[in-house]
Symmetry: C2
Subunit: 153 residues, 2 copies
């Protein structure tokens, strides 16, 4: 007999979420859907230091603001700052997700996640969310570019 109260599935997503835009919200909505009804969506926000290491410079918005803004979205149950020294294994052990959702541009992260999950034989589903294509302003870099074109002299 199936249990009357099914455990809520925990979906984990992560990202920088600098200059919050509709593409971010659509990604998070699709991620949560992967966990079915009553899924819980936990979002890891990349630390300023991690972004600086991987992209060469810090985000426009500081990490505390990025975290609070993401957590203020209806679709998000909890947003937490990542570890200073990012380690996917530590994140998985701590959050214990049922599903890890990855955005269209998170290919390096997907590789790390799949390797870790396979190596440790974990029962974690890895889901790829496709890009939201409504218009050209659903990427932080394109928003930055439009601002620079408009305001730089």
């Amino acid at each position: 007999m199936a249990s009357k109260h099914k455990k809520r599935k925990v979906v984990l997503a992560s990202g920088v979420f600098d200059l919050l835009h509709l593409g971010h919200v659509k990604f998070l909505e699709e991620a949560k859907k992967a966990g079915g009804k009553n899924a819980e969506l936990i979002v890891i926000i990349a630390r300023d230091s991690t972004v600086e290491k991987t992209k060469g410079s810090k985000p426009i918005m500081p990490e505390s603001q990025r975290r609070t803004l993401v957590e203020s979205l209806k679709v998000v149950d909890e947003a937490v700052l990542g570890f200073e020294n990012f380690d996917i294994g530590e994140v998985i052990e701590k959050i214990k997700p049922d599903i890890i959702a990855l955005g269209y541009d998170q290919t390096a992260m997907e590789k790390q996640v799949r390797e870790y999950v396979n190596k440790h034989g974990l029962n974690v589903q890895v889901v790829r969310v496709s890009k939201f294509e409504e218009d050209e302003l659903s990427s932080s870099s394109k928003i930055r570019q439009k601002i620079v074109e408009k305001f730089a002299r």
Copy 2:
């Protein structure tokens, strides 16, 4: 005897909400608080055409994206696009708010609202929300400036 089920107070706030940041969210949270427990927060999103008329150029993010993003915030019950020819009277007659909340920089709007409310003897409370001062990135113009300084060559 007081009614057991008090009517939810409707709070109306408005703005452009281009480049959504924590200052916007804090403003909306304070606005909703003014309506007490169970308040309903309705947000009018300024049309691209209205912003172009009043500020000389359109916002970075198109109106449909600004509306959807604001409505995806936990604190917001409903976000609606403003009228093409903005008229505070029409807005008040349509939404019938108990409270109109104004941000620190909405002085022109405050004047219009107070004049309309007084002239028509309406029972609408006008509330001014003070500026959120956590740090320097709680304004769209400062975010734009930081982006331009960082990326323009």
